[in-house]
């Protein structure tokens, strides 16, 4: 079985160049590649384009990359938690493509699956439809949307094996599996790295074929955005 292990986050992201097109898993701060983001922060690169459902918060996640001005463009669906983001956007320092969440998920899925375009009803009649082909099927109007593929995808899983197979936990799964498939080079960080053969083949969420580099992360903060409890 092919071994995808690399030493650590620094090793994994060392060849990501300025101007790279990246995808990063996570929904809010849940399931984000904390270690890879930290290692990217040490790199002297800029002009990154990042596909991520959200843009982190001011002092965590992608927010850290924004603060260091490493990001040229964000492709996201919801970016409401980040004041620095809003400042850069309104001042024109940052480009942003806002995309319906389901369309974003499906465009990334299409990228990994070799589907260059598909039709979706989301956004018909709205400004999202501007410049896009519309088409009626069975009496309903749809937009044509294109795939998204990345130079590097940075994903985070719960467990992984040396063959690159990944297992996610809870809603930390979110965009990670599709992004793993849509990256030319996919870098997976996991909380627990095990030898190939220890994970049940029936219970793999992301088959190792999609993962080029894997390492065991450390010191996961897993920050909670909205700590909500019942009494």
């Amino acid at each position: 079985m092919i071994n995808k292990t690399v030493k650590d986050a620094r090793e994994a992201v060392k060849d990501i160049p300025s101007g790279a097109f990246l995808m990063m898993g996570g929904f809010g701060l849940c399931g984000i590649p904390e270690n890879s983001i930290a290692a990217l922060l040490e790199r002297d690169i800029k002009d990154l384009t990042i596909v991520s459902n959200n843009a982190g918060v001011d002092d965590f996640g992608i927010g850290l990359l924004l603060k260091k001005r490493m990001v040229k463009k964000m492709i996201s669906s919801y970016v409401g938690e980040n004041a620095e983001f809003e400042r850069q956007l309104l001042s024109g320092e940052l480009e942003v493509d806002l995309i319906p969440q389901g369309t974003l998920a499906e465009r990334v899925r299409a990228g990994g699956a070799g589907i260059p375009a598909f039709f979706t009803p989301a956004g018909v009649g709205t400004e999202v439809a501007k410049g896009k082909e519309t088409r009626e099927f069975d009496g309903k109007v749809y937009l044509m949307e294109r795939w998204l593929r990345a130079d590097f995808s940075l994903v985070k899983a719960w467990k992984g094996d040396t063959a690159g197979n990944l297992v996610f936990k809870g809603t930390a799964r979110n965009f990670n599996p599709m992004m793993a498939a849509a990256g030319k080079i996919t870098i997976a960080e996991v909380e627990e790295l095990v030898p190939a053969g220890e994970l049940d083949p029936n219970q793999i969420h992301t088959p190792g074929i999609y993962v080029q580099r894997i390492f065991q992360g450390e010191n996961y903060e897993k920050r909670i955005e909205q700590r909500t409890t019942r009494s």
Partner: protein, 218 residues
């Protein structure tokens, strides 16, 4: 006039046994508290969960388990976790029966605006555009008027819209209204103590009043 809790309580009466339901952030989230216990329903969270349970106790908190509003949650028995593409496959494919969400404006033909205020707010649409383009039944929970007193039920939306001709029913602090297929807000129920005249006055779009309008009871 209804409180937010009462709006949620009134919407909960629309829920039918066996439904899969997506609740938006804000008042819609409160609806879960009023769904009768004898109904078997499942709450979907578009970040990848079917079977949202109550908020956790301090001990139960799991950072890997949140809802679409980024709040910590729990799962009920029989839950399933999935990725974001599968979640919206479910929504787009019409498997989620009912979507309840907030709005800034609704037009008399059922258009909804709830994601953007040009020059002011650039948070993004999240999953709202997918939800309103897909669910077979969409109920809006909102205040009848904005904080500055302007009607939010309009002939046409003035803000960038989230979806066209999709809203079926609106529950506000003043009334329950349905969208007429040819356009117009059909007044179905009044909030306790609220007159038809007040509703008429606070509805900028075409209001359709047929016969006696019953008052809601709680």
């Amino acid at each position: 006039m209804l409180s937010k809790q009462q709006i949620a309580q009134r919407i909960a009466r629309e829920v039918k046994n066996g439904q899969y339901i997506n609740l938006g952030i804000g008042i819609p989230t409160l609806v879960a508290n009023y769904i009768p216990e004898d109904l078997e329903i499942v709450l979907q969270s578009e970040n990848g969960l079917l079977g949202i349970g109550p908020f956790p106790t301090e001990e139960e908190i799991d950072p890997d388990l949140i809802n679409a509003g980024k709040q910590t949650i729990t799962m009920v028995k029989g839950s399933a976790i999935f990725n974001s593409a599968e979640s919206f496959a479910m929504i787009r494919g019409g498997h989620v029966h009912l979507t309840i969400l907030g709005a800034m404006e609704v037009s008399e033909n059922g258009d909804i605006a709830n994601w953007k205020i040009p020059g002011k707010m650039v948070k993004g649409m999240g999953g709202a555009m997918d939800l309103v383009a897909s669910a077979e039944n969409i109920i809006v929970a909102m205040q009848h008027c904005s904080k500055s007193g302007d009607s939010k039920l309009l002939p046409e939306c003035s803000l960038p819209i989230t979806g066209i001709r999709c809203v079926k029913k609106i529950v506000t602090d003043l009334a329950v209204l349905e969208i007429h297929p040819d356009g117009g807000f059909i007044l179905k129920e009044r909030a306790p103590g609220v007159s038809v005249e007040e509703i008429q006055q606070k509805t900028a779009g075409k209001l359709i009043i047929e016969g006696e309008i019953p008052e809601m009871t709680f």
